[in-house]
């Protein structure tokens, strides 16, 4: 498990900032896996990556790689490489010598380092680009060279700090495929910072969600979407439906009626916010089975449409494919699969429940069961 990364109680505060940039972050990443560090700007993701790399010294906490404490280990000796948003190719070196850099500084003969670098250029589909000056590369090519250069250092852990955010969507998709191919070939442990949920889901198998320097949740991509641990996590993952109600005997009771919750979880009784992804709600014809609702608004989302629905006075949102004949005022039936439901604490009402101080919070606790089942 050389590339396993463990963070224990990592905190960091910069002088002059209001609060901590990182606050008691605990994270465990298995060797050979890809984890996306997801969150809005200012969430502390990049600082966390720099702390792992040794470019920032945490105030408290430990970084362990392969079980070895990295405290006091210089960044150049940590066995990591980083690719940032800008490729940062050394402008005084050509493409081949950029990729051969890690070998050169390790003292490997230049001829050997260059031959090795040529192999990595081939791996990123840039064979023959070696003699070119770096200014002659396009944005996508430069980022490929940056990845090849990082991989040529044979890092146990590859750190990616929004490496594709400056690329256009098509090129970004190509880079995602390239990264998947590189993972199959070299299998490094990857930690990738991104603020793009789709990118995180496309590239990583697990997501660590950050906000305000705190890690809100660390789970598989599927569970991050279907079982957010809190209202904040749900909102950051793009969840659009929150229905206030009460949990009793495995059901959520609200204006929508009693909805049975997934039985893989022991749902704590009390006030709770029902969460259901807009992609999970099926909108059917009026004469079909399901919950009655009226279309109150429509908004185009590229190849899909976001439908606003009024269901027993509750505002719901659902995504439907283009081509469905829907108009404002239409009556429809909604099907909400039980597996798509989750309940979290409603911060506005949780404290009103008798015994709120002693009751454990509702945090979609079934996700642990599902995660075990996944593994």
């Amino acid at each position: 498990m050389i590339g396993a990364v463990t963070l224990e109680g990592l905190s960091k505060t910069f002088p002059g900032t209001g609060g901590p940039v990182l606050e008691d972050v605990n994270l465990s990443v298995d060797a050979g896996t890809c984890t996306a560090l997801l969150g809005p700007s200012g969430a502390g993701k990049s600082t966390l990556l720099r702390a792992i790399a040794g470019l920032e010294r945490p105030d408290t906490g430990r970084v362990l790689v392969g079980g070895r404490d990295m405290a006091g280990v210089r960044p150049e000796r940590r066995g990591m490489a980083m690719v940032q948003q800008r490729p940062l190719l050394f402008p005084h070196l050509n493409v081949l010598d950029n990729v051969a850099f890690a070998g050169t500084v390790r003292g490997i003969p230049k001829r050997v380092a260059r031959a090795d670098a040529a192999g990595f250029l081939e791996l990123v589909q840039l064979a023959g680009f070696g003699p070119r000056p770096v200014v002659a590369l396009s944005g996508g090519q430069a980022q490929r060279v940056a990845i090849a250069r990082a991989l040529a250092a044979r890092p146990a852990v590859l750190l990616l700090d929004e490496p594709f955010s400056a690329l256009d969507p098509e090129l970004r998709s190509v880079m995602h495929d390239l990264l998947a191919q590189l993972r199959r070939t070299l299998n490094p442990t990857i930690l990738m910072v991104t603020h793009d949920r789709s990118e995180a889901a496309a590239v990583a198998e697990r997501i660590a969600l950050f906000s305000g320097g705190r890690m809100l949740q660390h789970d598989s991509v599927e569970l991050m979407y279907s079982r957010p641990s809190s209202l904040e996590a749900s909102r950051l993952m793009g969840g659009a439906n929150e229905i206030a109600g009460t949990v009793r005997k495995g059901c959520h009771h609200s204006a929508l009626g009693a909805l049975r919750l997934p039985d893989d979880t022991t749902w704590q009784p009390g006030p709770g916010m029902l969460l259901v992804r807009q992609e999970s709600i099926e909108v059917g014809p009026w004469d079909g089975p399901g919950l009655h609702a009226t279309v109150s608004g429509l908004r185009a989302l590229g190849p899909r449409r976001l439908v606003r629905l009024d269901a027993a006075g509750v505002l719901l949102r659902a995504e439907v494919p283009l081509g469905r004949a829907l108009a404002e005022g239409d009556s429809v039936r909604l099907k909400i699969p039980t597996s798509a439901l989750a309940v979290v604490d409603d911060p506005d009402t949780a404290h009103t429940f008798p015994g709120a101080e002693t009751r454990p919070p509702i945090t979609s606790q079934g996700r642990g069961t599902l995660a075990t089942a996944d593994n």
Binding site: M80, F90, P91, V105, A153
Partner: protein, 286 residues
Amino acid sequence: MAPPASVGGRSWLPGTLMAAPAVLIAAFVVVGGMATALAQSLGLFPLVGPPSLTVAAYAAQAGDLPVGIGLSLAIAAASTVVACLVGFTAALVIVQGRWCGKLVAALGTLTIPVPHIVGAASVSLLLADSGLLSRLFNTGGSWPELVGGPWWIGVVAEYGWKESAFVALVVTGTLATRAVSYDETATLLGAGRLRRLRHILIPLSLPTLTISATIVFVYSLGSYEVAWLLGRVYPEPLPVMALRLFNAATLTARPEAAAVAIVTTILSFGAVATALTYLNRSPLWR
């Protein structure tokens, strides 16, 4: 045919108009001054008598010119090397951002506005055989000839001190804006401090170092006051020689002063041309 107002989709006209006042003034001073000096050195602009094309002014100083050229180039080269070494090291310290870096930056900033003539006087008061250091160490007459000696150490020390601050601040600008991110990238690729210095910091700073070194070299080659105050009476560096001839009682020495100035200018142009040739070959400059 008039040139097009836009090249490659970019209009050159606004930029040219904005630069025109500065270019015109600089051209008037530089081209006008050089043309006058050249004409005077070739006998075409005499103070008395009819103009006639002659190289007599150059021939009159033919004996002293080679020594003066060699001495001037040696002083300028030594000063430039010292200024670049000290300045680059200071820039590295400044970029670290620690308290000593801030101290060095403050010292460098304070050094810039001090005039060379004040610097020369300070060096004399410090390093001369009757100076502060000699008295402090009480050497009893065995103090080396740092000022007015055969190695022109006082002159080189003054230029090195003063110009190193200039080099440090210019290189710091480059290092702070460009090199830090490259330095971190190299670190994570396994490069230790010395490797980063050799493979990243020095190559990335070379264009800036080349430009500032050229400025220091040309300045040290062409200015007279430090060498005049801290140097020997003979042999003379070119600018001191030109000043002496220019101030000579005999008016016929003026063309000889102009000839020495023209030789100094040619050497300076040679240095600038060499630097630009190197820069044009550098991938960082293109």
